[in-house]
């Protein structure tokens, strides 16, 4: 139905960083810790594409999502959304662009206002961006959206606490869609849900994306989920993108040792072909004090002394396939799901 023009980027992030400055209060100033949650990240998302973003907890995935949506002010870098530069815009300047980009949250219990009815939650964006819309038109739109996300329009009068996690997530999706956005960031939209519900919600998102021709950034720490929804995948580690490739290419031919380690940590579908696992040693280092050079070197089984010297840039090693690692001589294991 919708003609999706693929190829041209809808959103381009270039050298985006988000550092949090800790311990700075009005009455206490001085040496402060800097959390480099995101450090020089570049990628683009093409129209109609789903870009997956994976990485361990604390790698900065949510911060990337929130920064490109300008819920955070980026510390550095440029974010271009359909020709508009978002970095540096004020709240007021961002307002007209807000309906075009939306966020789906991880926690369905915190993302809906407990004091508002479902109908009110979904139609609030309309009252803000098109206050002249009549009550009847709003009600009709709410019913339409509830239907789209697979809920009964009767639910509009109810309050969020009357719903289960999966249903609340559907309500959150309806709210995100009410203004017909072009771009969605889904920040772990299913990881708080029961496994049996996860598939339903993922399928719903995919269906809607197809129907409405949405462009999406899909964040998850679960490779299997990201693999089944994404066209391309970016792998993040400690605030940086270490590998970026089309989904098939990443699963069949990973080029970064961290990607290999993630694959090897996946649950194995057939225990008969169990192989030696490459277990990640130790903890993810603190983003306050990241290692010099390659941030992965403290846990990388292939690290060389040179890895501490320079930050390896994200460079293309095959068409559309980029990695940030100085070693080209590695033969890494593909995913067991490939």
């Amino acid at each position: 139905m919708t003609v999706v023009q693929t190829g041209t980027p809808l959103l381009t992030a270039e050298g985006v960083s988000k550092w949090f400055f800790l311990g700075n209060t009005l009455f206490r100033r001085g040496r402060q810790d800097v959390v480099r949650a995101v450090d020089g990240v570049s990628f683009d998302i093409r129209r109609g594409e789903v870009l997956g973003l994976v990485g361990e907890s604390g790698s900065g995935k949510s911060t990337v999502g929130r920064t490109i949506l300008r819920l955070n002010e980026p510390t550095a870098g440029s974010i271009r959304f359909d020709g508009h530069e978002l970095a540096g815009l004020t709240r007021r300047q961002l307002r007209p662009l807000r309906p075009r980009m939306q966020l789906i949250f991880q926690d369905p219990f915190s993302s809906l206002n407990p004091r508002m009815t479902v109908g009110r939650i979904i139609d609030t964006p309309i009252t803000i961006h098109a206050p002249e819309t009549s009550r009847a038109a709003r009600r009709e739109r709410v019913a339409e959206l509830l239907h789209l996300v697979g809920l009964s329009p009767r639910y509009a009068e109810r309050y969020p606490h009357e719903f289960s996690g999966g249903q609340r997530q559907r309500i959150g999706i309806a709210r995100a869609l009410v203004m017909n956005p072009d771009f969605l960031v889904a920040d772990e939209p299913v990881s708080a849900l029961d496994v049996s519900i996860q598939a339903q919600v993922v399928n719903l998102l995919l269906e809607i994306r197809e129907k409405l021709g949405l462009t999406m950034l899909f964040i998850s720490h679960d490779l299997a989920v990201v693999g089944c929804v994404s066209d391309r995948i970016a792998v993040m580690y400690l605030g940086r993108i270490v590998e970026l490739a089309p989904t098939r290419s990443l699963f069949l031919d990973p080029r970064h040792p961290y990607t290999e380690a993630l694959f090897s940590a996946e649950p194995i579908p057939n225990p008969a072909i169990r192989r030696d696992r490459i277990l990640l040693k130790g903890e993810i280092p603190s983003p306050v004090n990241p290692p010099s050079g390659c941030v992965f070197r403290t846990r990388c089984p292939y690290a060389l002394p040179d890895c501490a010297k320079v930050v390896p840039p994200l460079t293309e090693v095959a068409p559309g396939h980029a990695k940030a690692c100085i070693r080209d001589d590695l033969d890494l294991r593909p995913s067991q799901h490939a």
Binding site: S111, P125, G172, M179
Partner: protein, 299 residues
């Protein structure tokens, strides 16, 4: 195709509790609940009595009758007795109650509105604005209230309005703190981020999204403020800076009664009892509300 089905997986299991703890808690709740009901009934009786009582009694609260001075309670026509000028004590108590309750409610309204605004702005904007505002609140809180009250009262012509304003000026800080804490934590919740995401103006996020989630603690704080305000009005009137005789207030009646403590103790006992009754009733009601409303705050 709409999926009209409830997937019952979002629920969280209740933590297990022993019967003993449960029973104890239920008992405590019930008792507090009873006190709150008692408080509510007392407040209702006081309000109704003070509102319509003066129209019903045959005695004017300012009417002086030298022949029937110092009549003890229940001895004649005057149920609560008379004072040193033969004025009917019950009528005076009811008129005084009007003053005290009016000041209590009005000061509560003023300080709740002001405290809510200050707290909402401080909690929502946080950072420098919040830090400056809350240090200001702390500074006002540190100042000995009763001195502040008396200093202000000494400079300002006492009237119902000025006393209300003075009391409100010294009692908005509690509400401000409560609201600041609530908004500071609420604004971190995802639904506040969602409102930000749709480009809602700050006023919408503050007043329509966040504040309705803080109503319960505001109501509790407001109820306790009424109690405090009534007590404060009594203080300042007792010390002679508040409502001026011959207009009665529970505080200035108490002041007046000091001289006759031995000969006519009822002149002190009744206003004192009224103050205690009103203040404890509002405190019970506040505690009960806190108990009843708090669990529902959890989402």
């Amino acid at each position: 195709m709409p999926v009209d089905r409830i997937d019952e997986l979002g629920g969280r299991p209740e933590p297990e509790q022993t019967l003993h703890v449960n029973r104890n808690r239920a008992l405590r709740r019930f008792l507090r609940h009873r006190l709150a009901i008692l408080g509510t009934v007392t407040i209702a009786v006081l309000v109704i009595a003070c509102a319509i009582g003066p129209y019903i009694t045959p005695f004017d609260h300012l009417f002086i009758d030298i022949r029937s001075r110092f009549q003890p309670p229940v001895s004649g026509a005057h149920v609560f007795g008379t004072d040193e000028m033969g004025r009917d004590l019950l009528s005076r108590l009811m008129m005084a109650g009007r003053v005290s309750l009016t000041i209590g409610f009005a000061a509560m309204m003023l300080s709740t509105i002001f405290g809510t605004l200050v707290g909402a702005v401080a909690g929502y904007y946080g950072r420098k604005t919040g830090a400056v505002l809350m240090r200001f609140v702390d500074a006002v809180l540190c100042f000995p209230n009763i001195f502040l009250l008396l200093t202000l009262a000494a400079f300002i012509q006492p009237s119902l309005m000025t006393i209300t304003i003075i009391i409100a000026a010294t009692s908005w800080m509690e509400v401000a703190r409560v609201v600041e804490g609530q908004l500071r934590s609420l604004r971190e919740r995802d639904f506040a981020v969602a409102a930000e995401m749709i480009g809602a103006p700050n006023s919408h996020i503050m007043f329509k999204e966040l504040l309705p989630n803080a109503v319960a603690p505001i109501v509790v704080a407001a109820t306790l403020t009424v109690a405090r305000a009534i007590l404060m009005e009594s203080y300042i009137s007792f010390l002679g800076y508040g409502i001026q005789p011959p207009e009665p207030s529970w505080g200035n009646m108490l002041n007046n009664a000091q001289q006759y403590l031995n000969s006519a103790p009822w002149l002190a006992i009744f206003p004192g009892l009224m103050i205690t009754l009103a203040v404890t009733s509002f405190n019970f009601l506040g505690d009960g509300l806190r108990d009843a409303l708090d669990p529902r705050l959890e989402v």
